[in-house]
Amino acid sequence: MPKRLVAAAALSAMIFVPTPSARAADETPSLPHQEWSFDGVFGTYDRASAQRGFQVYKEVCSTCHPVKHLFFRDLADLGYSEDEVKAIASTYQVTNEQPNDQGEMYQRPGRPSDRIPGPFPNDQAARVANNGALPPDLSMIVKARDGGPDYVYAVLTGYKDPPAGFNLLQGMQYDEYFPGHQIAMPPPLSDGAVTFADGTPSTVPQMAHDVVTFLTWAAEPNLEPRHRTGLKVLLFLVIAAGVFYAAKRKIWATIH
């Protein structure tokens, strides 16, 4: 038995040996870990932070980035009341899915059952407005990048002057954490860019933290029920394991 354990330990050590990969080769510093309310087994979304994050998204990010997978009704999850959701939806103009009696498509105020409309009618329009670069959809961004929330936070706060001798292409910005360091997005956040209703000072790290909380919720809206259900399931299984182990011992007692 011990031999097997030693072998198993050696093998698992091999798996976790740090590896010289392409990612390390372009000298991106490792991501600093932030404290997130949704971390860990008991993690939940900090509603106040997520609401502030939605405000940052709405007032800053949404000029270029859509959140295609979100509906206005989803915002109720963030602690908005039914009336608040209706009010938020009605501030947007959406194209009705069906034409009117004259056969024309028309715009109307948004309803909770509508998708949150993006800034551009299609990808090509988005490219034309952004120097040829396509601003990615943000509803999945946290799940679609290695490092998740830490990565998005790091990119948002990672704008710097390029080091001497760095060949920055025209129209690009230097970002410490963006792969290759050349990012087409101008620094989106600046101190005081939004005014939070709850009086939280709108510093760049604060806004980045809040918007990442919002975007993590947008990418994984079922994290809370998942964490809650998981806890019950694991608890049940731990007890079941104890019961079955005792039963096994009892049944086998006369054999050995």
Partner: protein, 420 residues
């Protein structure tokens, strides 16, 4: 006096059983089925794999009710399952991580077979059916991975189907045939969906054959010697049903941890980006359970030869019962093979590491050495060891070994060689 007349239910069962001996068969195969009394927990993985197959089929059927197999809608329909379908996130995460768990279980099951020589006479067909199941699993998993139509889905489909273009003359024609067009596209997605739904049921059929072959001679055991009578065996129920159940719960703990707390740990973040034929991800990697084959494929500079070796590494397993010339099954009594076995385990893990990393520098060298060793292990060491190695004496029977406190001790004490 208790009423000993059979009740109505039991009379109905007897009536049916007389005409269709189904219950009798279950009684015989599950209840009385004699099982070696010394099976260790390494023998839990067969039943675990069977249960996992059922979990995957059930979650898969419910996912199929909500999924749209169309290049334009597939990605969004998966997101709809995650967001708007009741417990859709649970179904999808259970299915996604379930595939990983199924492979982990089957790989342990396979290595257990290699360690204890479970493929040796008279269980060669049992082993071969197992290898067929593994091949079907790989095909099913690959096609399932394409269905969400994310970046990695699309590019994995492109890379893997393109392997067939290495076949001389007809290669490109075969690839076009597989795609149903001139690139991976909607027809490809549609056929992969149809096949991904079909193949699991083919797996079920082969699993049934695997079970029939298993029940012909019963399980092998850690001593690798045959059962000689009732003193060597225990009825499957309740002894192994309870042992399997306990193992199942422990497994479910690990599985649940992934599903509820690390559902995307084993997946690729790239697959949450919708498929984009115009943009290749800078690092295309398959799921972890296919990494060793991928490493073998990339270790050879010549594409055709690489494809042959990668496929060969699996097909080689068909020959294992005849490549291993040792008359002794269990590695416990094979002083050299016991260590060589672990070299193969290390080798396969090294191949996995190579497959995960971009092929540069050290990774390439390790990949080539590990690929070479993989084939040397089966084609040279297996036949050679059987001839060179002097096995330790085997215990007389399972019963005597168990009652005297473990076969290994008995072997060391130098008991007579009963079954060379």
């Amino acid at each position: 006096m208790a009423d000993t007349r059979p009740g109505a239910a039991s009379r109905i069962i007897r009536w049916i059983d007389y005409r269709l001996p189904f219950v009798a068969m279950l009684q015989h195969e599950l209840y009385e089925y004699p099982t070696p009394r010394n099976l260790s927990y390494w023998w839990n993985f067969g039943s675990l794999a069977g249960i996992m197959l059922v979990v995957l089929i059930v979650t898969g059927i419910f996912l199929a009710m909500q999924y749209t197999p169309h290049a334009e809608y597939a990605f969004d329909s998966v997101e709809r399952i995650m967001r708007d379908v009741d417990y859709g996130w649970l179904l999808r995460y259970a299915h996604m991580n379930g595939a990983s768990m199924f492979f982990a279980i089957v790989y342990i099951h396979l290595f257990r077979g290699l360690y204890y020589g479970s493929y040796k006479q008279p269980r060669e067909l049992l082993w071969i059916l197992g290898v067929i199941i593994l091949i079907l699993m790989i095909m099913t998993a690959f096609m399932g991975y394409v269905l969400p139509w994310g970046q990695m889905s699309y590019w994995a489909a492109t890379v893997i189907t393109n392997l067939f273009s290495a076949i001389p003359v007809v290669g490109q024609g075969i690839v076009t045939f597989l795609w149903g067009g001139f690139t991976v596209g909607n027809p490809t997605l549609n056929r992969f969906y149809a096949l991904h739904y079909l193949l699991p049921f083919v797996i079920v059929a082969v699993v049934l054959l695997h079970l029939i072959a298993l029940h012909r001679f019963g399980s092998n055991n850690p001593l690798g010697i045959d059962m000689k009578g009732p003193q060597d065996t225990l009825p499957f129920h309740p002894y192994f049903t309870i042992k399997d159940l306990f193992g199942l719960v422990v497994f479910l703990l690990i599985y649940s941890f992934f599903v509820f707390y690390a559902p995307n740990f084993l997946g690729s973040t790239e697959n949450y980006i919708p498929a984009n034929p115009m943009q290749t991800p800078n690092h295309i990697v398959p799921e972890w359970y296919l990494l060793p084959y991928y490493a073998i494929l990339r270790s050879v500079p010549n594409k055709l030869f690489g494809v042959i070796l990668a496929f060969g590494s699996i097909f080689l397993l068909f020959l294992v019962p005849w490549l291993d010339t040792s008359p002794v099954r269990s590695a416990r009594f094979r002083p050299i093979y016991k260590w060589v076995f672990w070299l193969l385990v290390i080798d396969v893990i090294a191949l996995g590491w190579v497959g995960f990393n971009p092929p540069e520098g050290l990774v390439v060298t390790v990949g080539q050495i590990a690929t070479l060793y993989y084939f040397v292990h089966f084609l040279i060491l297996f036949p050679l060891l059987g001839k060179l190695e002097r096995p330790r004496p085997l215990p007389l029977s399972i019963g005597t070994a168990v009652l005297q406190g473990g076969g290994a001790q008995l072997g060391r004490a130098g008991a007579p060689v009963a079954n060379p």
